[in-house]
């Protein structure tokens, strides 16, 4: 059983990296998390139930590792906690060219500011494309909790997007 699992794990890597990027907010930290998760998974292959989804199992391992790391590092200030100053970023002639990058940056900042539990739900459903039921199983929370966390996270991100769209025009006219 172990060899097919390893091969599947290799093919899952791009998606695991994406999930880790979302969780940590950094490509480097994300890759460290993926590496730790792969090592943990391979050392506990006996705990993987054949016939269940390997991706879900990996997402759960990653989320748990990340929570552990965050607890250990709690003294450190969070990178995502700086205030979002989109107006300042959006001023200038290059604003149109910058627009998509700005949107991306704004979204990433908004996601990083979310509470840990909301962020995981958001990433699993909106980025990884899991159903609510699959996300509930990964995070071991009820379906209703998935829905409420997802709604709050989406509204928080949506508000940032909304204000970001308004910011350039109000600034350039002024």
């Amino acid at each position: 059983m172990t060899e097919p699992v390893r091969a599947d794990l290799v093919s899952l890597l791009p998606r695991l990296r994406r999930f880790a990027y979302g969780l940590t907010g950094s490509m480097d930290d994300g890759d460290d998390l993926v590496q730790s998760a792969c090592e943990r998974a391979l050392s506990r292959l006996d705990q993987f139930q054949a016939g269940t989804r390997l991706d879900s199992w990996m997402y759960r391992i990653m989320q748990n590792l990340w929570i552990d790391q965050r607890r250990a590092r709690q003294a450190r200030p969070e990178a995502g906690m700086e205030p979002v100053d989109l107006e300042a970023l959006a001023v200038g002639d290059a604003e149109r060219e910058l627009n998509s990058r700005l949107t991306m940056t704004a979204v990433q900042r908004a996601v990083r500011k979310l509470p840990e539990d909301q962020r995981a739900v958001l990433l699993l459903v909106c980025v990884e494309g899991l159903s609510y039921k699959a996300a509930a199983e990964v995070l071991e929370i009820p379906l209703g909790t998935v829905m409420s966390r997802l709604a709050r996270a989406r509204l928080a991100v949506g508000r940032v997007l909304h204000s970001e769209k308004q910011a350039p025009s109000s600034q350039t006219k002024g």
């Binding site: 172990t2 890597l13 990296r17 709050r152």
Partner: protein
């Protein structure tokens, strides 16, 4: 936008099409009557797409070798390195007489193919040349030639004179969307005592032109 939490939950499930028909009808009614609910729906729709786009960078980049190693192997993977492979050029530049005089093992090293060899026990080990009697210079030369061509379906046959075996390397294709386009999946088929044996592998090329090969243990073809 400060609806009751349960309303927001229903609205997000509506946007994601995760409601039962009866619930869906009820939510549609709320949306028709309530402009605030309509505004929330618009925000929920926009945010999902934006979040997805914001994190697609890892899908457009090759997977770093250290992660391929971590996913593929046990002990060697924890070292976090993939065997560095000598570039092909180095061998080609050698005078052909030297290459001819070289032993089979040296030839294999000269071709610059190192690989991860998976043991049937599930443990992996790193090898810089033939890992055991099943890895011949002829196989490695065929593998290298097939990888250099790289197009799906490419098939390079080889005859392992030492083992008296015939086999072939077949390029299956580039690895599923998202992994570096520099990675190819290949299949190796050979006959062992009349039985057809198949093994799968993954080869990734670094910018320097070197190939790293991860091969899975062989299985008898059914």
């Amino acid at each position: 936008m400060t609806k009751q939490p349960w309303v927001e939950s229903m609205l997000v499930a509506y946007v994601d099409d995760q409601l039962e028909p009866a619930q869906r009808a009820a939510v549609e009614e709320i949306i028709l009557e309530d402009p605030e609910a309509r505004a929330i729906v618009a925000v929920l729709r926009g945010s999902a797409a934006a979040v997805k786009t914001a994190y697609d960078q890892p899908l457009r980049e090759p997977v770093p070798p250290r992660l391929l190693a971590a996913a593929g192997g046990g002990e060697s993977a924890s070292a976090g390195t993939v065997v560095p492979l000598p570039a092909r050029k180095r061998w080609l530049e050698r005078p052909w007489k030297m290459a001819l005089a070289a032993s089979m093992a040296a030839l294999a090293v000269g071709f610059g193919i190192g690989y991860w060899q998976a043991r049937p026990s599930g443990e992996f080990r790193l090898a810089g040349g033939p890992a055991d009697e099943t890895e011949s210079g002829q196989y490695e030369a065929a593998l290298y030639q097939a990888l250099e061509d790289g197009s799906p379906g490419t098939q390079v046959a080889y005859v392992d004179t030492a083992q008296g075996r015939r086999g072939a390397v077949i390029i299956v294709g580039t690895v599923s969307a998202g992994v570096s386009s520099n990675c190819l999946e290949f299949r190796r088929e050979w006959r062992d005592a009349g039985n057809k044996v198949v093994s799968r592998g993954l080869a990734c090329r670094a910018d320097s032109g070197e190939w790293s090969v991860l091969s899975m243990p062989p299985k008898p073809a059914s």
